[in-house]
Each structure stands twice: as C-alpha cells, then as structure tokens.
C-alpha cells in the first residue's frame, strides 16, 4: 500500500465556478508576482488557467497518468522543460530602447520555441457557429491522498493536520522528482537553480493570518471560493456537501483532490438556418464526462433546474451563492485585507 498521510483535523477546500471565469489570468499573475519571480522559477505557473478542450500545461498533462488506480500507483513520466514551455526572453531592448522600433518586431530571443504555456489559449473546438471553449483553473489540488507524498522517498512532503495544505519541505527535498512524476495533475515544478521541487502552497502564510490566497482574492470574476470543508457556514461547504454542484476534476486519478469545480454550462447549438436548437448544448457532454466523470450530468441538470426556478421568479440560494453578491461570502472567513499584513523584512 502506498504511504498515506495521517488524517487531518480540518481540510481547506476550494470551488472554482467555471461559468464565471473570464480567462484574464489575473490569478496567474497574482501568484507569479507573489511566489515565483525568483531565479529557477521563471517557467513556473503554480496557478494557470488553461483553455479547454486543449493541451493545458505541461503539454498534454491529462495523458501523462500518475496518481492511483485501485489503490496502487499508476506509472507516469517526468515532463520536459519544453513541455512546460521555456520562460521566453524577448528583445525588448532592441524594440523599445535601442532605436530599432521601426525595423525590429517584438519576438522571443530563443527563436525556435514552438510551445509554451497557454500556447492554445482561446483556441476553440467545434465548427463556427457552434465553436466553443471554456477555462480550467488549476492550482495544487492539496489532495486527501496525495500521490506526491506517497512517492517521496525522503518524506519531504507533508500534509498539514490543521488545514490539509500539502507542502514540500525544501530542506529535506533532494530534487529526486518522484513527486513530479506521481502527481496526476502535474502541478509540481523543478527548480533548477535550487535543485528542489516546488508547487502551490495555497498561500499558507496568508491563510494563517486570515487572508485568502492571492489567486482567490485577486480574481475579478468572483470565480474562486475557499473555506474549510466542514464549515457549514462556508460557501464551499454548501456547494460541495449540501447542493453537490461542485465536483472534483478527474476523480479517477484516485488522489481525492480538494479543489472542486462547478462545470461549464453551454450555449445552445445553431442549426443550418442560424436558428437556435432548443435544449441543445454546445459543449459535448462526453467531453465533460472525460474531465469530471458521469456525475457532471447530474450537476448540469441541477444547475439548469435552479436557473429555471429563478426565471419563474423564485429564489435560489444556490445561484445567489454562486453569483456572490458580496465578495466576503466567498472566502469562508478568510476575508482579512492583505494590505494590513506586515511583509517579512
């Protein structure tokens, strides 16, 4: 049996409402500027919002395997830097400051790269006028049964008992990257400068002081909910446990992720005359099932039922919660202003 962490007292969980995401990457940049702006971290995106259907990052991660099947580890492989996408350097000096602005165009200095994170951003599937895409928000899943933790021979990965956050102890990490191979969501990066593995820390220093993680707090679309899964007052608890409209991504990976998704609703299809086909859906259910399992059908039906209720003029506490009229309702009490925190010297 693979190693499992001791049970936690409480588990922090998050809900991403995919129907509200604008794909603006404000979350991505909030994370980047806060945590991954040092040498060796240039190519890291602890938070990323991928266009789906699409390759995601690292390229084609959904097909790389990892995680568990029937309780046993599923073999995977390590992605290469080129699959994550190099952090490009651009010729800003020439174009902006070197007096070459009229005859040089902005381009990567490396030249021959043909892949990068978000390479297929906003690239739709399906044929016009029935094309479609949606956004998938990814951070570390802070799993209940983390494959990374089970794979580490150094016991360098631990799951915090008080909140379930999964962390890598960089003092113990030897850079072996068994974790990176084992994580089925491929959310672990290797820092070549420090020779250690690194990943999303769910902004635990902020959490400890009552502040929501940066990618949650900065989201202008009110997409992201956070809270303790057992906090009955929290939106996360209601969406996951009571109304059950937020479900895990790739539950078949066997790691019991604690990030949940409200799956995307579809606009209808147009027929050849440009008329709406009533009751049709642009995003194939089969594709959504490949991401969330068959349970996605129940969730989409529930959402449609609730929407029909509000159209009849009835109240829906579920939809009100998802709309989040008051931003503080999204953060399970983690509403302290980050501006009131003292930065470490």
């Amino acid at each position: 049996m693979p190693v499992q962490p001791p049970p936690v007292k409480r588990q922090l969980a998050a809900v991403f409402d995919m129907n509200k995401c604008l794909g603006c990457q404000t979350c991505t940049i909030a994370c980047k500027t806060l945590w991954t702006d040092e040498e060796g971290m240039e190519y890291m995106w602890w938070n990323i919002v991928s266009t789906m259907p699409g390759e995601g990052t690292p390229r084609g991660w959904q097909k790389l395997s990892g995680g568990f099947q029937d309780g046993e580890p599923r073999p995977s492989r390590l992605p290469k830097l080129s699959e994550f996408g190099h952090a490009w350097e651009f010729n800003y000096e020439d174009v902006l400051y070197g007096g070459q602005g009229m005859n040089q165009h902005l381009q990567p200095k490396t030249g021959d790269d043909n892949w990068g994170p978000l390479w297929d951003e906003d690239q739709a599937s399906g044929a016009y006028p029935n094309s479609y895409f949606f956004y998938l928000q990814m951070i570390c899943m802070h799993c209940t049964n983390p494959a990374c933790l089970a794979a580490c021979p150094r016991q360098a990965i631990y799951k915090r008992v008080d909140d379930g956050i999964v962390l890598i102890d960089e003092e113990r990490c030897s850079g072996y990257r068994f974790c990176m191979e084992a994580c089925p969501y491929k959310r672990i990066y290797f820092n070549q400068a420090k020779k250690v593995s690194q990943k999303c820390i769910l902004c635990y220093p902020r959490i400890e002081q009552g502040v929501a993680p940066a990618c949650f707090r900065q989201c202008p679309g009110r997409v992201r909910f956070i809270g303790f899964l057992d906090d009955e007052e929290s939106a996360v608890h209601k969406l996951v446990k009571v109304w059950k409209v937020a479900i895990p991504l790739h539950p078949e990976f066997g790691t019991e992720p604690n990030m949940y998704y409200v799956p995307p609703l579809s606009p209808p299809l147009f027929d050849d005359n440009g008329d709406v086909i009533e009751g049709s859906e642009r995003i194939p259910r089969q594709y959504l099932e490949s991401l969330f399992g068959p349970d996605v059908n129940r969730v989409l039906d529930t959402l449609r039922t609730e929407m029909a209720k509000t159209r009849r003029g009835e109240k829906s506490e579920m939809l009100d919660t998802l709309i989040a009229y008051e931003w503080k309702s999204m953060f399970g009490g983690f509403t302290r202003d980050p501006g009131t925190l003292k930065r470490p010297v």
């Binding site: 492989r77 390590l78 994550f84 021979p153 016991q155 030897s174 990257r177 068994f178 070549q192 020779k195």
Partner: protein, 154 residues
C-alpha cells in the same frame, strides 16, 4: 576501486564505465551521475536498509553538478540527513568512457554521527554509483550488495 591513506586522511578512488556524461541537470527530466562511499557509524549497521535507528550509516556523496561532496547519515530508508562534514572532499573526472572519482575525508571523526576511521582498523565499506541518464537517483542505484572488508593499514 582503489584506496589509500596517509594517517591523516583516507582516499577512495571509484572508477566505472559510463557512456553518458551526465554532469548537470539540464532538463526537468534529467538526473546527474553520482557516487558514494558508505560506512557503518558503528558495529553491525545494516547495509541495504541504509542503517537502522540504533545503527546508523554514514555516506560521503559526490555529484558532478555540486561544488563538493558532502557527508550524510542515515538511520533507515529515507532518513538521510546532512552530517558533520569532517573534511569530506573530492573531485571527479570524466574521460575514456567513464568516471574516475576520488572521495576523501579526515580519518578521525569529530562527531558521533559519522564513521570514525583510524590506522589499524578492521572495518567495512560499501559503494554506490548512479547512472543519471537512466533516471537513477535515491534508492535507484548500482550498489555493492554486501559490506566489503576495509582494512586500514596501521
């Protein structure tokens, strides 16, 4: 394998064939070659389990992408921690289709968590090498499966 001492320090030279010189971590899926000398800290420390809580083992670990070799102590699988370096030093050279690596340390131990060595000692030693291009790291390595006798001439 060759060994020598000058009473103050002991030297091990490990030479092995290796078609691929993996002297850096050039990509996220690449690993460096490595070598180590392993010694019991005391008595009958078990080899394949990397020591035990009561009988630790001490390794001097060399890797071409690191500035210098360093000393670690283990009390069972996965328990390795850095220990007093005690003058562990060394250098590796790649040529003629293989590595030649010298790892040395001062004889006498300054702390209790590393192996104490002295002229006239009848001890034991083990060796390991890692093939970086084969993805070898941690317990994935070529290792002497039994302790080898170490006689330090007095």
């Amino acid at each position: 394998m060759q060994a020598a001492h000058n009473e103050a320090a002991i030297f091990f030279r490990l030479s092995w064939a290796d078609d691929t010189k993996d002297d850096e971590i050039a990509d996220t899926d690449q690993f460096p070659d490595a070598a180590a000398v392993l010694l019991p800290v005391k008595g009958d420390a078990p080899l394949l389990s990397m020591g035990s809580p009561d009988y630790p083992v001490n390794a001097w670990y060399w890797r071409p992408d690191l500035e210098a070799p360093f000393s670690v102590t283990a009390r069972g699988l996965g328990t390795t921690v850095r220990s007093a370096n005690g003058g562990v030093s060394g250098r590796g050279v790649y040529g003629a289709g293989g590595w030649s690596v010298v790892i040395s340390r001062r004889m006498w131990a300054e702390t209790a968590d590393v192996a104490a060595l002295h002229p006239g000692q009848q001890g034991k030693v083990a060796f390991a090498v890692w093939q970086g291009s084969g993805g070898e790291r941690a317990g994935l390595k070529a290792v002497t499966l039994e302790w080898q006798p170490l006689e330090i001439e007095g």
